[in-house]
Point group: C2
Chain length 354, copies 2
DNA sequence: CTGAAAGCGCTAACAA
DNA sequence: TTGTTAGCGCTTTCAG
């Protein structure tokens, strides 16, 4: 394990271990000079604290990871949270703890949530920015104070956040496009159903899709991009109308989780199994549509794994001193009928996903 | 963290903590009576050792995971090993250590390797059985002694091994079949290139594929199953001949990692981009074939993640007392051109895969 | 066969 | 501002 401890530092700096402790923890009861000296020596020695000893000594969790996520949309954020919790439990004995604050909805109450986390003295704060602008200064402030902010599932660009963990939205669209192009003959006509294009995330998915679809499908055409605003009725109506406008439409890519009304509209037009449908993410209610062949594939963004990774990066950083990579893009899973049953969202007794 | 420690047990059993320690560790210098009494109390209290304290006390790794894998096939087992090593490092501070023994080739020297691990006093032994029959009694012996044996990547059926971590081979074939069926029109003709059918793993992939291909592709036919015995020349020759025999062949599924000779044969016949090719796993040399459209998709068995999971299950079991699930089937990734660059095998500076 | 006690590296309370 | 010291829960001597 570790070689040099505070005792060794103390010996070299000719002070007591108490003073070393004060220097290392940025406590105030110490002169700037000795602090600098001690920190220099610690660095020269490549000192890394023994977390087992620390955990033992403090007796309660000393590494606190704050998580602030919505509880909206019944599954995605639950999975995300489960990833945080189960992964953190693995490091329980090292004194790792996650504290959880939920917001009502994505984009609502996020600054307040983050503030609460900071007040709880977390070393790392993980957030899903729905409204990045409202969080900007708070994030920068936190990072200034040495608190690492990790964005999960969506990013807060132009901030000092330490990293973002997500499926690159452009890739999401590209992969859907490649699949769609393989599923369809040349010159096929397709459309996209999205949430709202003013959201950067949605826009990038659309861009990714349209760029690659053109590339992979010779003579293929993207007829329309429909904004459903993640509203069930609106989406149903718009898709229902869309299917009527374009009798030649062969494929649909739903770039948001709101795919049920699309399935309904397809059913209402008697197009089950005719229309090639590629969706995003996964939840139980989608199963029958996989089984009927309505949904051919879904791009699964692995929220559970995103939570796990956030914890792992935090522990790697806090416990093992490894730097946090500035972005962490993970590969989405492609859910199809054959592998459907392997996903946590579908199983009764969820198994972990590795 | 933990409430009841050995001190509490000692108090209730009216002995000293030294005696409790002896009881808990099955040391011999203790009477059977007191041992039983102490163990009973410990169980009643739901005692779980504080690993931080143990790690601190012993000063060197106390949790030892043995890994015995081949070094053959340049990438798969390297990735597997990397998964073990990096994940174990996360638990370094808890005293987790992996010891590694390599075998020359899959199926060669496996009993010797496992014996060496057992001699090193591992608590968990992870192995890739290439020749399960030769390992059978050794595995059962180990489990009898309380050493948990984890099979990785392939199984040792009819043994007492604690678990197997792998992609279900049947699923591998099924997923390939579903993809293939979506890529091809009805009544398409396909063939499989495999290693050797006497290997259970290969046979199951073939079965999975043929069952599902029939189901997903109306009127589709599996013309041949070619055994290449994982030999480059043999495979090339056989596929080259195959392509000549069946001018109508539209798709090929390569169920082993040995896909390069297949690509070469396709090239030699001028069929780049015409023949729909689905392969297994991933390594650098495949990249150009993705780019040219020779390979449309590959079923990636995620060796790195398999190694990670083995460590996680071990730690969950050893450190947190969680039972080991009897099988752990993971979802393979589907590698296509759009997501190719995200895989560790392709990147220069490998990033972890979550 | 059992008990007592030292010490692992660190934190925190108290003394100086 | 700094030094000293008592644990945290466990393993490991060494005595009995």
């Amino acid at each position: 394990m570790n070689k040099t401890g505070i005792y060794e530092i103390a010996r070299l700096a000719d002070v007591s271990i108490g003073t070393v402790d004060r220097a290392l923890h940025g406590r105030k009861e110490i002169s700037e000079n000795t602090r600098r000296r001690i920190l220099r020596i610690a660095k020269e020695l490549g000192y890394r604290p023994n977390l087992a000893a620390r955990a033992l000594s403090v007796g309660h969790p000393a590494i606190r990871i704050g998580v602030c996520i919505p509880r909206e949309i019944h599954y995605f954020y639950d999975e995300l949270r489960a990833g945080f919790v189960t992964e953190a439990r693995r490091f329980e004995q090292l004194g790792v703890e996650v504290v959880y604050r939920r917001t009502k909805r994505l984009g609502i109450g996020e600054p307040e949530g983050l503030k609460e986390l900071l007040a709880l003295n977390v070393q790392v704060a993980a957030i899903c920015p729905g409204d990045p602008a409202s969080l900007c200064s708070l994030i920068n402030q936190a990072e200034d104070r040495g608190i690492r902010v990790i964005c999960v599932a969506s990013d807060a660009p132009h901030t000092a956040r330490s990293t973002v963990i997500c499926v690159n939205p452009a890739l999401n669209g590209q992969l859907a496009a490649e699949l769609m192009a393989r599923f369809l003959p040349p010159k096929a006509e397709v459309a996209i159903i999205t949430g709202m294009l003013q959201t950067e995330d949605h826009r990038k998915k659309v861009e990714g899709f349209s760029e690659k679809f053109r590339q992979f499908c010779h003579g293929g055409r993207l007829l329309e991009v429909v904004e459903g605003h993640d509203d069930e009725d609106e989406t149903f109506q718009k898709v229902y109308a869309l299917l009527r406008r374009h009798k030649t439409l062969a494929g649909l890519y739903v770039s948001t989780a709101n795919c049920l009304p699309v399935c309904h509209a397809i059913g209402a037009r008697g197009l089950h199994g005719k229309m090639k449908l590629i969706t995003t993410d996964l939840f139980k209610e989608m199963v029958p549509y996989f089984e009927r062949g309505t949904v051919l594939a879904s791009i699964h963004q692995r929220p559970y794994v995103q939570g796990q990774i956030a914890v792992r990066l935090s522990v790697d950083y806090l416990a093992n001193g490894r730097p946090i990579p500035p972005t962490y893009y993970l590969t989405p899973h492609i859910v199809m009928r054959s592998n459907l049953h392997l996903f946590r969202e579908i199983r009764r007794n969820g198994i972990p996903e590795g």
